[in-house]
Amino acid sequence: MIKRFPIQGRTLALVLVLVPLLALFIYVALRSGPLAPVPVTVTSVEDRAISPALFGIGTIEARYTYRIGPTFAGRIKRLDVHVGDTVKAGQVLGEMDPVDLDERIQGQEAALKRAKALLNEALARQAYAQTQSRRYEQLLEVRAISEETVATKKHELQVAEAGLNAAREELARIQADREALIAQRRNLKLVAPVDGLITARDADPGTTIVAGQAVVELIDPESLWVNVRFDQIHAHGLAAKLPATIVLRSQTVELRTGRVLRVEPLADTVTEETLAKVIFDQLPEPLPPVGELAEVTVALPALPAAPTIPNAAILRRNGGLGVWQIKNGDLRFIPVILGAADLEGNVQVREGLQAGDQVVLYSAKALSARNRIDIVDRIPGVKP
């Protein structure tokens, strides 16, 4: 007995080493690889109301932009405003070089004086011719002169009257010419059409500008709006007057409210986006720069309660959308027809599931109906 003891001790030690090793081996073989159960988390379908919303990005734009420039080619003489200046309606912003326009107006003024003189001369002629004509008619009544002389005088009167008319019209013409030049001279002034803010000064004095080219640009700061683009796939339900929240890229913590002013009747065919204009309820102070990026979330009317699942539970299998339902511990793929969704990832289910059904939310790998599952609170590896 005493002699056999060491051998038993050895056997015991060997068993102590080998048995745990074998147990570990079996554990490893069954708990890793394809034979291992897949950890999944489960959620139950809930009846709840969701508030769908649309998300788009846009840029701040001014509704009214005035690009002010001369109506014909010329050189800028002076420009009194700079970017950032606020101007009043009718304020002179600058002036184009008149070149010879002033001299031409002076010439027209001289021509006007001359025309007036010519008119006076014609008046004098006409008055004299009329007097002569009357006098000769009286002389004819007493038969002191011949009829021919009277006829001559009458003709002279007609000629003088025609000359008077011509002189009057000439005066009117020269006056009109002068006024046209003065109007052109006035037109050289660059005048603000409305109260506004100068946003661009594209040229400086001395620059030659072609007709129609803008020299300064001003916007109406009260008319800032956001030109928002929504992907057409997510633009269902977009309509005017819907409330919106606006987040400016420079002020991401501050939410601003607004509403949809209009949905553009023309969509962008290239980018497959629908365009809409969103206005602020209250303009931010200070004004955001035109062109700043803004994220816009448009809230759609809330929908009545319906079975709702998180979108992470939905997957496509054999061409159809569905979820993995757990019934009596077994996995079953249930095809579903989806309804509206909100931006938080909740999707309403129109057909396929009832409230209270248990569905797989997350899984550690792609599931198939043959998988064994292990229901856990959190998939291993996901940090809280």
Binding site: V28, G212, Q213, N311, N318, L338, E344, R378, V382
Partner: protein
């Protein structure tokens, strides 16, 4: 009948078990190496699985989008959608780049997915946390291997994205974690230069008298606007209607749209045969070298063990033990050693090596079975040399020597 081999092992079991454990670690490394190779192939396959596509439509005559760069116009999908047999199409972009989060950056494959609902081709097929992308911009679903958490703000080029969902095993064929972002953002991030480069580009354009003509106001703005668009994607993913043959649909797209189309089988051949071919061959080479080294070591260990008890064997021969019994003793010991080695190897590969290896290690049960058979065969073969030595021993050595 008493087991000679068992008795002998019991005689110095500590030494025997430790030898087995040492051998086991070597076998563990070999199994891990096979696992690394399987993992590489699996990385390529999950990339294809996760895209959910039956066909990949890419730029003509390229091996895109994974093995080679490919770019096609982002409205090509419309004409492909109209082809017979096509059920669903989606644009997709892939670009491996650095994704920044605070101070650190992670190398990731940024994938631009077409907006839509869950299940759209290209979308992550399952999540481990969070939710799928719902907004058309500035949301991201990241793979858990990237180390990002839900709610993290990550930066790709100049834009910031909020991580809303996490995936697992969504990796590129190189094993880089994938980050899914909306397609339009991804198109921009592929194309968008840094602000300084954009500024320089504008300056260069403005200095070109052809583009900046005083007589034509607005031309410069139009040119600059046309320079800053990116109407390209890398591929169009196609799902085909049930009942249609993938090869036929691919052939008709190839023929009528003059684009290159790959089916699942062809794509797998490209990824496994071309993209990871060199690294897979490296691993394969290592595997072969390791196997040879392991067998040599097993043979050497058994040979040394046998030489260690040559005197005892001589005694056995002297007392007239049959040759078969002596051969059985050596072979049983060799196989026992191999068994301990395999068990220790499998455990160490699964628990100690695979979880900590930087790349994905896939230990397939079938590989383990093959490994087991190989270990037993190697042990049997290497014991033959030892048996030859043992049988040739002169019984006289038991008394002499």
């Amino acid at each position: 009948m008493i087991s000679l081999a068992g008795r002998d092992i019991m005689h110095a079991w500590g030494k025997f078990v430790f030898t087995g454990v040492g051998l086991g670690l070597l076998i563990g490394v070999t199994l891990s190496m096979a696992g690394i190779y399987r993992g590489m192939v699996d990385d390529a396959k999950v990339l294809l699985d996760n895209s959910g596509a039956d066909l990949w439509v890419v730029q003509k005559d390229t091996l895109g989008p994974y093995a080679e760069s490919s770019s096609i116009y982002d409205d090509t999908w419309r004409s492909i959608r109209g082809m017979p047999g096509v059920e669903r199409v989606a644009n997709i972009t892939y670009l491996t780049m650095q994704v920044r989060q605070g101070e650190r950056d992670v190398r990731a494959m940024v994938t631009g997915v077409t907006p839509g609902e869950a299940g759209t081709p290209g979308w992550p097929p399952y999540l481990v946390a969070g939710r799928q992308i719902t907004r058309g911009h500035y949301e991201a679903v990241a793979d858990i291997a990237s180390g990002f958490k839900l709610g993290d703000r990550i930066q790709i080029r100049r834009n910031h994205y909020t991580v809303v969902g996490l995936t697992r095993r969504m990796v590129s064929s190189n094993g880089d974690p994938m980050v899914f972002i909306p397609l339009k953002d991804a198109q921009e991030s592929q194309f968008l230069k840094d602000n300084d480069a954009i500024l320089q580009q504008r300056r260069r354009t403005a200095e070109n008298p052809n583009f900046n003509r005083p007589q034509v106001p607005g031309l410069l703005e139009a040119v600059i606007a046309s320079q800053s668009t990116n109407p390209y994607v890398n591929a169009v993913l196609v799902q085909i209607k049930s009942g249609h043959n993938a090869d036929e649909v691919a052939q008709s797209i190839r023929r009528w749209k003059r684009l290159t189309v790959y089916t699942r089988g062809q794509m797998e051949a490209i990824l496994v045969g071309k993209l990871i071919a060199t690294s897979a061959r490296q691993i394969g080479m290592f595997l072969v070298i390791l196997s040879i080294v392991s067998s040599a070591i097993v043979a050497f260990i058994i040979y040394t063990l046998t030489l260690g008890k040559i005197r005892e064997i001589a005694v056995l021969k002297l007392i007239g033990t049959k040759n078969r019994t002596i051969a059985g003793l050596i072979m049983q010991q060799a196989i026992a050693l191999g068994l301990i080695g395999f068990v220790v190897g499998k455990i160490s590969a699964t628990l100690l090596m695979a979880p900590f290896f930087p790349k994905y290690v896939l230990l397939e049960p079938l590989d383990s079975v093959f490994g087991f058979i190989a270990v037993v065969v190697i042990c049997v073969l290497s014991s033959i040399i030892a048996i030859r030595v043992a049988l040739k021993v002169d019984p006289a050595e038991a008394i002499g020597g």
